[in-house]
């Protein structure tokens, strides 16, 4: 076989595995991250698919690069390893992670795609270069972020819900209060999204925006969004003095916005880290080495986006039905708090280049609202399952990755 054909074959094969991974993310992770919005009936299934497909893509393209870099270069030190071995290793890691995700889907284990990818990379690093290849300090901080991200989601959601209670529910005219507070919170959401788009991203680099430019754009957008919100909510009238249903109705509208926020943050983190091994494989297959300057090809991210949309449409329907049907007790103010807390955490983590799990952060946020006496009942048994599953994920993904790597090396090495 001539090298060109091999390259095409490798890229094609990797693309197929990447698509499969994206399908996994779409059918399961997206449904989990959008669950609160669908459960609170803020968006329909169709809207969820569209929002998820488009905004995951946007998040992955514009903000995801930090996370991708961490996964690509932060977990294992690639300097001492031969390019050919690296290539096989990344393929093995991607395949191992994808297999483990599928298996856990089948077994209904609440594992995270992120954890699988990191675990698989560690496994490959260990077998290819020994313990010194793995950058343990970075792995440690990544593992710490897995504990910290649900806690951060919990705290943020708690605060947001408390703010809603203190500024709306306590008031004598809750609906009138919601008409003012709602747009302000919404403007703040817009500020976070826009500033994350312009601060230290490829977008700001390409168009030469400084941080101050980015912030001022974000502030302007936030003010516009707030004003639009006030205008849109202007006509809503309370039916009685304790018309909590209308307050929920206002938040239902706002929740469309936060579910976009969640999809965006999810794209920035989960999608980016799942695509990371692929981003490493392609330059390696072309014989270019794993340089620092190589950006992620846009067609790859597009492939990821399409994979997510397909996953959402094929299997996501059933997942969302289950998820949405099961959380009927979730009202819009709660869903809003959960989404806002979780998405902000994930976005900040993405900015810091920390690969974390969106689903687990959402679970943390749900508990936060529960702690604020906002939910009728939260079953904590899932927390135990999450801890067990992520303790299992690392060794199992690592083991699978090692096995696949050894087989690949036996065949192609």
């Amino acid at each position: 076989m001539d090298p060109a054909t091999t390259t095409v074959l490798i890229i094609g094969g990797t693309g197929a595995i990447a698509f499969y991974m994206a399908w996994n993310i779409g059918s399961n992770d997206v449904a989990n991250s959008m669950a609160t919005a669908v459960g609170a009936k803020a968006i329909t299934f169709k809207q969820a698919v569209i929002i998820a497909g488009v905004l995951n893509l946007v998040g992955a393209v514009f903000v995801g690069s930090h996370v991708t870099d961490t996964v690509r270069k932060g977990i294992i030190s690639t300097s001492g390893i031969d390019n050919h071995v690296l290539l096989l290793g990344f393929i093995a890691s991607l395949l191992a992670a994808a297999i483990w995700v599928t298996l856990s889907t089948w077994k209904e284990m609440p594992i995270s795609t992120t954890h699988s990818v990191v675990g698989a990379l560690i496994g490959f690093g260990l077998i290819a270069g020994g313990t010194s290849t793995v950058i343990w300090g970075k792995v440690g901080s990544v593992a710490a972020s897995w504990v910290l991200s649900p806690v951060a989601g919990c705290i943020l959601a708690f605060i947001v819900f408390k703010i809603i209670v203190k500024t709306i529910f306590v008031k004598d005219k809750p609906v009138a209060a919601a008409k003012i507070v709602g747009p302000i919170i919404f403007g703040f959401t817009a500020f976070l999204i826009v500033s994350s788009l312009f601060l230290k991203t490829s977008l700001s680099k390409n168009y030469g925006f400084s941080d101050i430019d980015g912030l001022s754009i974000a502030i302007v957008v936030a003010i516009i969004v707030t004003l639009i919100g006030i205008v849109l909510l202007r006509k809503i009238q309370a039916k009685s003095s304790e018309d909590y249903a209308t307050v929920e109705g206002i938040f239902r509208k706002l929740q469309v916005g936060t579910s976009c926020y969640v999809a965006f943050a999810h794209g920035a983190n989960d999608v980016a880290n799942a695509i990371a091994p692929v981003a490493s494989i392609i330059p390696l297959a072309r014989g270019e080495g794993i340089g620092a300057t190589i950006g992620i090809p846009y067609w790859l991210l597009a492939l990821g986006g399409v994979g997510i949309a397909v996953g959402c449409m094929t299997w996501g329907r059933r997942v969302m039905k289950t998820v949405g049907g099961r959380i009927t007790s979730l009202t819009n103010t709660r869903g809003f708090s959960v989404d806002f807390g979780a998405a902000t955490t994930v976005l900040i983590a993405s900015k810091l280049g920390m690969p974390i799990s969106t689903s687990h952060t959402v679970v943390g946020a749900v508990i936060g609202v529960g702690l604020a006496r906002g939910l009728e009942a939260v079953d904590l048994s899932v927390v135990r399952k999450i801890v067990v599953s992520w303790l299992l994920t690392l060794p199992i993904a690592a083991g699978t990755s090692i096995t696949i790597f050894l087989i690949l090396r036996g065949v192609f090495g």
Partner: protein, 231 residues
């Protein structure tokens, strides 16, 4: 493939499919249905109209059974890892007291149906007044429990807590009035003891006690509700 369809859904798994408070309200609906039915029957019984009372007894027993199913459903499906805005133990005690209203209603209905005791003309008035007070007490209790929806929705803000407390005070007041009425009834029965058949006296006293028990348990419900709210 299993029924659930192989889904990793940690988010959905943290939610209970049926909310405990919704179930509590559903149980309360049974209390309402039962007391409405029995209250009507009781007043007609006091007036000497026993027609259809056996049917009422049967119906009350059915309602009690349905409520029992709701109660055990709540109890059996609250896992130890549950995390609620109120104390789980207090929640269960509230439910238990609410269920006792139904148990007492059922016992009362059976007892009344077993022996059609004629209420002396002189006492009829006070008996009916007492029954009405007890029904009102249960009604006020239903209002207090019903307000839990707003409490949970607003995550227990002061205004809603105060509102629930108002309902609770109303229950206390009505229960106290019912108690006074019951003393009046008992005094009346003892005044007539020479003229009445001993078996009648026994039954009249028993009816007074058992009807009043219903108001007592309604009061217990709201007391536990109060404790539950305070956390």
């Amino acid at each position: 493939m299993k029924k659930k369809g192989h889904i990793r859904s940690p988010v959905a798994d943290t939610f209970r499919r049926k909310s405990p408070f919704g179930q509590l309200l559903k149980h309360m609906e049974k209390v309402r249905e039962c007391i409405d039915l029995l209250g009507d029957g009781l007043i007609r019984y006091y007036k000497g109209d026993y027609k259809g009372f056996s049917d009422i007894t049967k119906k009350v027993s059915e309602i009690e059974h349905e409520a029992d199913l709701i109660k055990s459903n709540i109890r059996n499906h609250l896992p130890s890892t549950i995390f609620m805005p109120v104390d789980k133990g207090k929640f269960m005690t509230t439910l238990q007291e609410q269920d006792k209203i139904l148990n007492h209603a059922e016992n009362l209905a059976f007892m009344l149906d077993m022996r059609h005791t004629k209420i002396p003309k002189k006492l009829r008035e006070v008996f009916i007044e007492h029954a009405k007070l007890v029904i009102k007490t249960v009604g006020a209790m239903e209002d207090s429990v019903g307000n839990i929806k707003d409490l949970v929705e607003t995550s227990f803000v002061k205004r809603e807590r105060e509102q629930t407390k108002e309902f609770i005070y109303k229950v206390h007041r009505l229960e106290w009035e019912a108690d006074r009425k019951k003393i009046e009834m008992t005094q009346g029965i003892y005044k007539l003891e020479k003229k009445l058949d001993p078996m009648d006296v026994y039954h009249l006293l028993k009816i007074a006690d058992w009807v009043d028990d219903i108001a007592d348990h309604a009061e217990n419900v709201v007391d536990w509700l109060r404790a539950m709210m305070a956390r």
